[in-house]
Structure formats: structure tokens, C-alpha cells
Assembly symmetry: C2
Homo-oligomer: 423 residues x 2
């Protein structure tokens, strides 16, 4: 069956879900009891899909199914079902490299465009935790480890190009969600488009300025070109803080339906942009002025820790590699080559850092003036407060997009963020 064969598709509901799970002994036995004993709740709070949580006497499962349209909009915005196929292919591809950093894929049903994943009952969405002001000691570092492991393992730095080319070819048909990224991140926010929205009228002038900001448009054009042409590694493709589920001891990265080959800095940039938005939005969640100041500083430390953890994990993997057609290790086997290989790696990381800054800026812009907004800002009831914080974030975003080369380190990035916040 091809990834896009929609004959036989039906939208699951409570009844058909129980019936379908009952037909799969491995799944129903892991739940325990029989179909009528299971607790089923529908929790799809994302923009796109239906998600059921199922609990039985023995255990739980999560079932995720594609809808033929964008859930938050409805049938007026059709969206091919096959995104479920690419999400499960992503889990299947990176599973052995990231281990428990991704949810375990238990089953995929091509006919229904539905996958069954392990239930994460004690986990909460990282974005929500950041809005509540909770500190998780290791989550951000674990996300960095996930990016390092998944991108390194799927790149020519450790694989033959033949292996990589076949993976690129497998994910290139994930067109519908790539189209969403191209339109919603790289195009619509910088022009007049019916899908855009923003805190109005407070930001009307800002939005008008943004659309006539030639330099900014040049920068987003360059980044979009890089996104479409640099096939460095298999990306998650939508790595924001809402794609991370965490508790004090465990972190999982979910919702990989945007999976595609692209520049490594794209995943890093989206996540960094979301951390920065968590930072800028903190005053909007205060009951007493200043009570989140310490917490906001903690987020800045996490921004630095995120980049550093990525570099540490990726460097370690790269130093251990013994094959791969990119920088073939056979060419750098002599002791005297160690120095130049280290210099090349530093240069490579500098390029990824520059990409990261640009994509972080693009993510901030699109979440404030584009179609899909973040709860970090959206949950701030007072539009005047929200608009003021959004404007500060947009200011940083422009700097990151237009002059990423100004920043030599993650420390310099967070210093600039702090300056913009305190304007």
C-alpha cells in the first residue's frame, strides 16, 4: 500500500477504536481486560490530528490518527492523510539512535493512517511547564541530545551517501507538511495573507513595518532557500516546546509528522526560538511584578545549555565515527590531521549556529504575526501587556534574522535577548 492510498480510511471514534484495538492481540493484551473496560479520552489539542489516550487494567496506549484536513480550521483546509505515514517512518528511522527520547512506536495501520504509541501518563507538555514557571533540570539538554543523535545518525558524517540518499528520497514526498512550513514560516508572515493574525490593533504598525522591511525579507528569503536546498540530516521538522513531553526524570520528543531532510540548524532554531518566546512572555504570567525575574534568567541559562549540550553530544559522536562519506575518516587518520579536522568541525558548528539563530528568528516572527500562535503569549489575557512583550521578542527576532553573524556564541545571544526584554 502506498503511503497515500486513502481507500479504506475511516475516522476513528470511541466505538471503532475499541473494536480496532481488540483485533490486535498484542495491543489489547497490553491494555488488559476487554474493550468495554478501557478508558478512552480524546485529547487532540494540536492543530492537525486526532489523539486518543486509552487505559486498561494492565496499561495504556496512545493512538494518533490523521484527519483529511487541518483540525483547527476544518474541512476548508484539506491536508493529505499520509503525514501519519511519515511520522511513523521517522520514529522507525531514528528509534535506535535516540532510544527513549522518542515515544515507542507499537503499531502502524496504513489503512487508517493511525499509529499506536506508548502512553506517557506522567508527562506534561514542556511549553505548559514553562508557562507555569516550573524548572525541569534536564529536559532542555535532553532535547539537545535528541537533535544531536538523530541528525548525526542520519547524515553523511556517519553514513554512506547511498544510505542517506535513500532516506532523503523516502521523506521527500512529505510535501503537504513541507508546504505548510514553506508558507507559514517562510512566506505568509512577511506579506498580507488571510491566515495571518496578530495582537491588533496594538501591533498593527509593527506588522506594517515588518512587511515593508526589505532587509528582513531578504534574510527570510535566504533562509527559506537554505531550508529547501540543504539536505544535511533527517529533522523532526516542528521542534517547538509543544512537541516535548517531560517530567522530572524523563523527556520525550513527539509529533514528528513534519519530518524531512533539511539543515541541522532548523530543528535547533525552532526550539531556541520557542525558549526565547518563553523568556519574553514571562512577565505576562506574573501575579506580582518581578516574581518571574529569576525564572526568566533560568530560561536564558537553558538557551545557552541547549546549544552547548548539542555541541557536546554531536562532537562526541563525530569524534567516534569510523565511516561516512562526508569528511571521510580515512582521509584524516594521521595524528597531524586531528588539528585540521577539529578546525573543520568548529567551522561546521559555526555554520549550524548561524542557521540556528536565523531559524529561531523566523520561528518567533511566525508565531507572533502568522497563522499558528503560541500559548506562551496567547495565554496572556491583557492585550496591551501581550503586545508589549511580543514587540520585544520581534525586535530580537529581526536582529537574529538580519545579522546572525553578529553573534559568536549562545552567551552573546542571551545577552541581546536580555537587552531587548529590558528596553
Amino acid at each position: 500500500m502506498s503511503p497515500s492510498d486513502a481507500r479504506g480510511y475511516e475516522r476513528l471514534d470511541d466505538t471503532s477504536l475499541r473494536q480496532w484495538l481488540s483485533g490486535h492481540p498484542a495491543l489489547s493484551e497490553s491494555l488488559g481486560g476487554s474493550a468495554q473496560d478501557w478508558l478512552v479520552s480524546e485529547v487532540g489539542d494540536g492543530n492537525l490530528n486526532v489523539v486518543f489516550l486509552v487505559s486498561g487494567p494492565q496499561g495504556g496506549l496512545c493512538v494518533k490518527q490523521s484527519l483529511p484536513y487541518v483540525r483547527v480550521v476544518g474541512p476548508s483546509w484539506p491536508m493529505p492523510l499520509e503525514r501519519a505515514y511519515f511520522e511513523q517512518l521517522h520514529y522507525a528511522t531514528i528509534g535506535r539512535f535516540v532510544g527513549a527520547l522518542a515515544p515507542r512506536l507499537l503499531h502502524y495501520e496504513p489503512r487508517l493512517f493511525a499509529m499506536v504509541l506508548e502512553l506517557l501518563p506522567d508527562h506534561r507538555i514542556l511549553r505548559q511547564l514553562l508557562i507555569e514557571g516550573q524548572r525541569l533540570p534536564s529536559s532542555v539538554r535532553r532535547v539537545a541530545e535528541y537533535v544531536a543523535r538523530s541528525t548525526f545518525a542520519t547524515s553523511v558524517l556517519t553514513q554512506s551517501f547511498e544510505t542517506v540518499n535513500r532516506q532523503i528520497a523516502a521523506f521527500l514526498p512529505n510535501e503537504a507538511l513541507t508546504r505548510v512550513t514553506v508558507d507559514l514560516i517562510f512566506t505568509h508572515p512577511y506579506m498580507s495573507h488571510e491566515r495571518n493574525r496578530w495582537t491588533s490593533p496594538a501591533l498593527d504598525t509593527v506588522v506594517e513595518q515588518l512587511r515593508s522591511d526589505s532587509e528582513l525579507k531578504g534574510a527570510i528569503g535566504r533562509l527559506g532557500y537554505r531550508f529547501l536546498t540543504a539536505h544535511e540530516a533527517l529533522l523532526h521538522g516542528d521542534l517547538h516546546t509543544g512537541s516535548v513531553m517531560a517530567n522530572a526524570t524523563d523527556t520525550r520528543i513527539i509529533d514528528a509528522e513534519f519530518a524531512l531532510y533539511g539543515p541541522v540548524g532548523f530543528d535547533l532554531g525552532l526550539f531556541t526560538g520557542n525558549l526565547l518566546m518563553a523568556y519574553f512572555s514571562q512577565p505576562g504570567h506574573e501575579r506580582i511584578a518581578g516574581e518571574r525575574d529569576d525564572y526568566a534568567e533560568w530560561i536564558l541559562e537553558e538557551v545557552v545549555a541547549f546549544w552547548q549540550a548539542f555541541v557536546d553530544h554531536f562532537s562526541r559522536l563525530w569524534s567516534q565515527t569510523v565511516s561516512g562519506d562526508g569528511y571521510p575518516p580515512t582521509l584524516f587518520a594521521a595524528r597531524a590531521d586531528t588539528l585540521v579536522m577539529k578546525a573543520e568541525q568548529d567551522r561546521w558548528f559555526r555554520g549550524v549556529f548561524r542557521d540556528t539563530l536565523g531559524f529561531a528568528g523566523a520561528e518567533i516572527v511566525r508565531r507572533i504575526v502568522g497563522f499558528a500562535h503560541n500559548a506562551d503569549f496567547e495565554s496572556i489575557a491583557d492585550p496591551a501587556v501581550r503586545a508589549g512583550l511580543e514587540q520585544r521578542a520581534l525586535r530580537l527576532a529581526r536582529t537574529l534574522l538580519v545579522t546572525p553573524e553578529r553573534f559568536a556564541s549562545a552567551q552573546e545571544l542571551v545577552l541581546e535577548a536580555r537587552r531587548d526584554r529590558n528596553l
Copy 2:
């Protein structure tokens, strides 16, 4: 039939070729007469394939067939037949954009991995003309136009990413010949490998130095990574002066079996590297010392003209484009955006130029110390003379690989080439 289904394959010979052509009325009628009237000659002088030239009372044809191994080596180096499939796919993809700059594809026979192309009876291989010291007024500019037209048309600068992704996916399986490029251009010349050869013993020390030149190996590693990850446009993939057939009024680019998506500077760099080798080798073709000095200067002018013609053609196409997901034109519609779009284009050309210089250096190195050598140097009988000229070319190649950023223009490149030649 899949591109790699080899059931039914048979190597064509004089008899089976006549029989096969007779079975295709459109082809046999264009030849005129009947099978026994045709003049058939086998001219495969390349490294890989069998090529027949067929002439009849009415006209001629060229038949090119894959062999299951590398022709110049024999069955000990197997090579999948499917390269003929990718070559004809390349002609079919770029035909409407490059017009008469590529040979006309008349027929493709999947079973035989054979294609029929128009005969080019009045044309000669450009490399041979350069060795003879002949000036062709427009050939080099026409090759630049070919690169500009074919790369622009197949890029996201004018196409939707969906269209481009499908083309990328169609060419990614051209693995066998991409492996040849990865090994023979980016890896083997920089290490000890049985397929390498060079003018020995004169260049033994030079080759030894090259293999322990850490900086050079860092540079070739970086370029190889870029070749494998930057999928900017559909490339010819083997654009040397032996892939160009020309006469005083017409220029055709042939032998596109290496076709793949890659960085635009790769085609430009290979061709520039070959022009530079033609330049360095000129003294070896002199009967009287200095008689080729003027001609050598003419080649340097052509190197500059090649880059300038590429920029001119590509800029003109880019200025006319009305769609494409890279730098989407809708974002740059206002008068005030013209300036920034021009700045972005200049930046893009600077990046392509840097790539071009690096790939030119890589091509020179691999043709002098790797597996496949050039007649420019090989036809110089005196090894001492040949080695001296090769060494000068290698000197420039190292500069281009290690410090491409030193060169702001094609003029600066040819000044450096002249300095190296006169050492």
C-alpha cells in the same frame, strides 16, 4: 520497467544494432535506405560506454549503450547499466530549457539501456580543439549559458519545491556514478589507492606531500560534504571539456550520465578546472617555444568570459522569474525591495563563485594524481615537461581549494593562474 531491470539486456554489435534500428521505422526512415546500406562505426572513446555512429543515405544517428562495467578497466570494475536511464532522463528534463545546447534525444530503449541521439557530424570534442590551439569564438560562453539555463530551470528559484523535490527524488538513485564522483574526486586522490596514478617518478614527492597536507584534506572534506548535501539544481555532473562538442557555429553538451542534484558551482567548477588545465598544458603542445603564449592568454580570457556569461544569463533568468519557492517573488514585489533582492543575488553569486573555485581545484587535483587523466597533459610525450606543467597546475589547485575566499573575481583567478604558470 524499473530503471535497473537488466533482464533482456544484450550488448549491441554491428549486426544486432542494424536489426534493432530496422525495427523502429522513425529511426530507420531518418537514416534512409535499408540496414545493409548504413555505415556503422564504433567510437566509444570515453571511459564508460559503447557509442555507435550510424549514417545512411538520408541522415545519421548516434547510439549510446551502457556496458555492465567500466569500459577502460573491464569487467573487474562492474558498473550498473542504469546510467543510460539517468542520462536520457536528464536530456528529457532539461531539453526544453537548453534547446539546441544538448543533443536531441530521439529514442530510449529501457531493455537495452541504450539511447538514440542526433548525430553531430561536424562537431569535434572541445578538449581536442584546445589541445590543437584552435579558438572557437562562442563555445565557452555557450557552455555557460547551458549551465545557467539548466540549473536555473531546475531550482526552487523558479519552480515550486514540490516540482523540485520530485526531480531530486528521480535522480537520487543514480548512485553508481555518484559513487564514482565521491571516490574519484573527493577521496582517492588524497590517500594511497590502487586506482591513482601520476607522472612518476617526477611527481612522487608532490603526491606524497599532497597526501599529508592536512589543510588540503580539510578543504576537500568540506567540499565533498557540500557536494553531497547542497541540492540546489539538476547538474550535468561531469562537465569537462571532453563533454562538449563544438564547431565554429554550434556547441553541444553531451554525456550527462552523471546527472544529479547538487551545488550549482560543481558544474561550473569542473569546467573551469578543465579550462585551467588546458591553459597550463599549452607549453607542452608547442613546436617552437612560446608559440602558444598568445593562445594561452586567450584561454584565460575565456575563463573570465565563462564566469561572466554564467552570471549574465542566470541574472537575466532570475530577473524575469515570477514564481518559485526560493526567494518567493511575491515577497519582493515593491519597488523598495529591488535593492535588497539585487544584494541577495550578489551574495548568492559570491557563494557559487567560491564553490566554483573549490570544485575547479578538486577537478585539477584528481585529473593529475587520481584515476582519470586528461589528454591535455597525457598527450605531452616528455614526462619531464608534463610533470613541470602538472606541478604548476597543482599549485593553483591547492590555492583554490584551501583559500577560495582570496579571490573576489574571475579576473583575480586568472592573474593567480598566470603567476603560477610563470613560476
